[in-house]
Amino acid sequence: MRALVWNGVNDLAVETVRDPGILNPHDVVLDVTLTVTCGSDLHFIDGYLPGMRAGDVFGHEFMGVVAEVGPEVRRLAVGDRVVVPSFIGCGECFYCTRDMWSLCDTTNPNAALQQPVLGYPSGGIYGYTHPFGGYAGSHAEFVRVPFGDVNCFPVPEGVSDVQALFTSDAVPTGYTGADYCDITPGDTVAVFGAGAVGLMAAASAKLLGAERVIVVDRLPERLELARTRVGAETVDYSEVDSVQEVLREATGGRGPDAVIEAVGMEGHGTGVQEAYDRAKQALRLETDRATPLREAVLACRKGGVVAVLGVYGLTDKFPMGVVLNKGLTIRASQQHGQRYVPRLLRHIADGELDTSFLATHEMPLEDSVRGYEMFKEKQDGCLRAVFRP
C-alpha cells in the first residue's frame, strides 16, 4: 500500500510499504477514508521529540471503513463506517474501566521505553514516536486498529466523513479541555491557541455553558474562524502589550474562570522571553517553548482551572509559585476519546457542533508531503490538511 513515512527530521515521503494485517484476535483493519495532519506531528517532524525510526508510517487522526475483523471482534462488521480515537484503549484495565483511555495499561508495546521518563507509561497511539507504542499510523491506505470493539465508533447517518474525521482527535481533545474547566453558567473561559484543537475547545466550552469564550492567537484567519464559526471573542497577542492585562480588563479585573492551553511545545510569543526560549530550544537545553503555558497560568483568576492540552516535553521555568499562591487547579491529559466520541457525534448530528470548517485543505495522500509543508508553514490559511488515501 502507499503511505506517508517519516525518514528523518523534516524528511517525509510517500512510499510503498506492506499492508497491515490482523495480528491479535481483537484487531480490525480499516480502509482509511480520511486522515489528517495534527500539530503534535510537527514536534517529531521538526526533531524536537525523539523516538521515531526512519521509515515509520505516521498519522493518528482518521476515519474509514472496516475492511477486516479479527476472530474475537463482536460489535463490528466489514463495511462499517467508523471513526477511531488516536489513543488505543483495551477496555479492560484499571484506567480504561475508569474512562481514562489514553492512560491504558496494556496497549503500549514499547512501554519500557516510556517508563524511565514517565514512571508509569501511557497507552499506545497510532503513528507516533516509539515510546508511545510504535504503531503504524493512519497516513496510509490501511491501518490496523487493536481492540476494534472499543476503539471504533460507527458514524451515524447524517454525519459526513469530514465531520466525523475530527472526532478522532481534535474535537475530543478540545472537549477534554472544556470538560476539565468545570464550567458553570456565567463563566468566562480563555483559550490560548486557535488551531483546530483550540477552536474545538472554544466550541466545547460554549456547548458546556460558558457565557464568554475568549480565544488568543496571532493569526488573523484563525481568529476570524474563532469569531465567525465559534462565536468567541478574540485577542491578537501580537497586537497587545500584555495578554494578561487585556484578559483582566475584559473580565472586570477578575481574570477568566478557566484557561485552556491548546498550543504545546512549539509555542510562539513576543519579546525577550520568546528569544530566550527559542535559543535554549535550538541548543537542546530545553525541549519546550512554553510561553502560552506560562501565560495561561498567569492569566487565570485566583482559584480557577488551567486545562493543558498542548503537547509538552520537559518544561523550564514553570511558574509553580503562581499556581500555589493563586490556588489554581491544573488539569491535563492526552485525550480520552472513547469517553467523548459518541456524545460528540450526537452533537454534530444534532447540528450543535460544527467541525467541517477545520478541513481547510483536502488532497490525495500522494500530495501529503506538500500538505504537511502547507500545514507547518500555515500557508494559504491552512488550519488542517486532510488526505484521501
Binding site: P25, G55, T107, P109, A111
Partner: protein, 205 residues
Amino acid sequence: MDVTQKAREKAREAVASAVGAAARVLPGHLGQQGGGGPARQTLTIARPAAEVLAAWGDAAVVSRLLGEVASVRQGPGGRWTFTLASGGELAAEPAEVDGGMELRRADADGPREPQEDVRDSEDDTEGGRTGEQPGQREDEEVLLRVTTRPAPGDLGTEVTCEVARELSAGVGGVPFTLLYRLRALLLTGEVPTIEPQPAAREEDR
C-alpha cells in the same frame, strides 16, 4: 596543584555528582539495571494470585512474555530450557517459594545448590566476598523469581518479578516488560505487538 588541575578536579567532581544524582533519581534503572544483581519490578495485576502464578508456571506463556529476549521450552522432569536471543542456553528447574515461584539454575545433575552463604563479610578472611549481602550467593542461582501479595481493595495482586542478569542484560526494563505483557495477557487475552509492521525499512518490507 595548578589552576588547570584544580579545574579538572572540579569538573570530575561535577560529573560524578551529576551521575550520582541521576542514579538516585532513577532507581531501578541506572542503579539496578547497570549493576550485577537481578533486575526487579513490581506491578499490580487485577487477577487472583493463583491465576498469576499459573501463568508463570507455564513455559509457553513465559516464552511469549520474554519475546525478543529468549524462548523457553519445558522438557522431561519439568526442566526448563531458555534459549537466549543473544546466544546460548540456560537450564532451570521450577521451585515454589513463599507466595510465588522461582526458576533455579540447573546443570546435568539437577538444580545447583548454593554455596555456603557468607553472612558476615567481616568473618571472611580469604577475600573475594567482601561487601556481599546476606543471601546474595543463593540469589545468584535464581534465573527468575516471582512473588505475589494481595493488592489493597479490589485491585488484585501485586506481583514482583526478579530476573537474573543473563535474561535482562542489553534490554532495559525486562522485569517491567514481562509484567506489563503478563498483565495485558491476563486482562485482555493479548500481548500488545507491532510486528510485522508496515514501514519503509528493509527489514519491514
